[in-house]
Amino acid sequence: MNQKQIIDQFPILKQKINQFPFVYFDNAATSQKPQMVIDRLVNYYSNFNSNIHRGVHKLSQQATDAYEHARMSVQKFIHASSSKEIIFTKGTTDSINLLAFSLGETFILEGDEIIVSELEHHSNIVPWQMLCERKKAILRVIPVTDEGELRMDEFVKLLNKQTRLVAIGHVSNALGTVNPVKEIIDLAHKNNSLVLIDGAQAVAHLKVDVQQLDCDFYAFSSHKMYGPMGVGVLFGKKELLEQLHPYQGGGEMIESVSFEKTIYNSLPFKFEAGTPNVADVLGFEAAIEFIQNEGIENLAAFENEVLSYASSELEKIGRIKIVGKAQNKAGVLSFLIEGIHPYDAGTILDQLGIAVRTGNHCAEPIMKRLGIRGTIRASFAAYNTKDEVDRMVRAIHKTIEMFS
């Protein structure tokens, strides 16, 4: 397959920064959007905009059908068994907060334990800390190796009768580590613990099959997989979601309301209070279509090639230390330039048209664990090329020159 055909679909990549061709290596923060996603948004507001689920008029019915069609596309994309298991949220953070609240109200008691890891994004730490504070539950943390891999031996030791939930990232946004989630899920289930997978960094790079994984919950964001911002998904097994206490109350999530007794709506609506973000959900569906048209294996092949090329080219520079050397990585390359603060390097790279991210990547605990304050992170999508890596390498040489 021709990568140029992919690149051509992203209008934003045509721009120049300071006369340099734009190299976008900040895909772990958010990926760019193909024309078909942008078109879907425009089309919705041009032709279909109306509120869903409650109108008898034609537009409302069309919008409702389109919205529910998108839900089925998500269901197929992650291989869920029912579209009732797909809850639309604002994003991964919102999905995890929903779960932390609802699970907390339903299942978590004083003294219960929740396991996360040192690798997690703040979004998969803070909601659990808040829950633990509310319920006097205990947060346990799986440590990682110097390479940035989970210590599975320690994980096994953390599991016990009190462990209600294991909340773990599929792919680390700070280091790129792909965690052995299947193994984690199986071990947790043997221990009668539930599992949430934070898939924010996985869905654009790996084929995700929630039935094969057998995870209880899976959270991800549209905007990190070529879709619009403002939409995410919480997948949950139907029998679990049915038991969970609702999160927010309001319209849409109710069957009937009276001051004596309000009856909640059925799944998935029970968890979708208020007018949903219809336009962006439809744009999200277009992003799924984009991925399916190209084939996620093909997209991943381009990324993996760029990731391994970038890793070996950076090693050649000599003054580079790659942070996170897990066997299995996806999409992310974190590194440091000896003697140069990541912020300084990022500032000059930016001037040279290379968009990377610097800092702690919303993952302070792993930075602390590795004894650093932050890294420079290049993160890749299917439209990135080896040629762009070469440009970044030249820019790094230039940066080193400027600071010496």
Binding site: H341, P342, Y343, D344, T347, I348, Q351, T358, G359, R373
Partner: protein, 140 residues
């Protein structure tokens, strides 16, 4: 030289640069040459929040004037903060409080510093003004 005169001098220096590269090279040079803050100030109490890099600023009153010193673990940041110090150090607190520091816009630092970075710059200015305010309050 007044605060305004020192600021004008910096604006004139920056006007000589043809492109961003010269400008950053100059900031890097400044960052390398700025005297390092004494070790006793490199701690949490002098740390400015809101910057990706760490910045420390200290203030001491000598003969009614405020002597400012600063340091950062990032060179460009140190260059930027050294410009602030050059303009504001060795001035009376009331003069520091009265200056809008418009020169930062004029030398294109705002333009080249994205919001998160600009926030850092803003936080530095705020801290210096806080020092000045505290000193004014003590006077009264």
């Amino acid at each position: 030289m007044s605060i305004q005169e020192k600021a004008n001098e910096i604006v004139a220096e920056f006007a000589l640069f043809d492109d961003w590269m010269d400008k950053y090279n100059y900031l890097i040079e400044l960052g390398h040459s700025t005297p390092i803050i004494e070790e006793k100030y490199r701690n949490e109490s002098y740390l400015i929040n809101g910057c990706q890099s760490r910045v420390w600023i200290s203030a001491e009153m000598v003969d009614g004037k405020m002597i400012l010193k600063a340091d950062s673990d990032a060179v460009i940041t140190k260059g930027v903060v050294s410009l602030l110090i050059r303009v504001l150090s060795n001035e009376k607190p009331e003069d520091i409080l009265g200056n809008e520091l418009g020169f930062l816009d004029q030398i294109g630092l705002q333009e080249h510093l994205s919001p998160t970075r600009a926030n850092g710059l803003r936080a530095m200015i705020q801290q210096i003004k806080l020092y000045a305010m505290a000193s004014e309050a003590r006077k009264k």
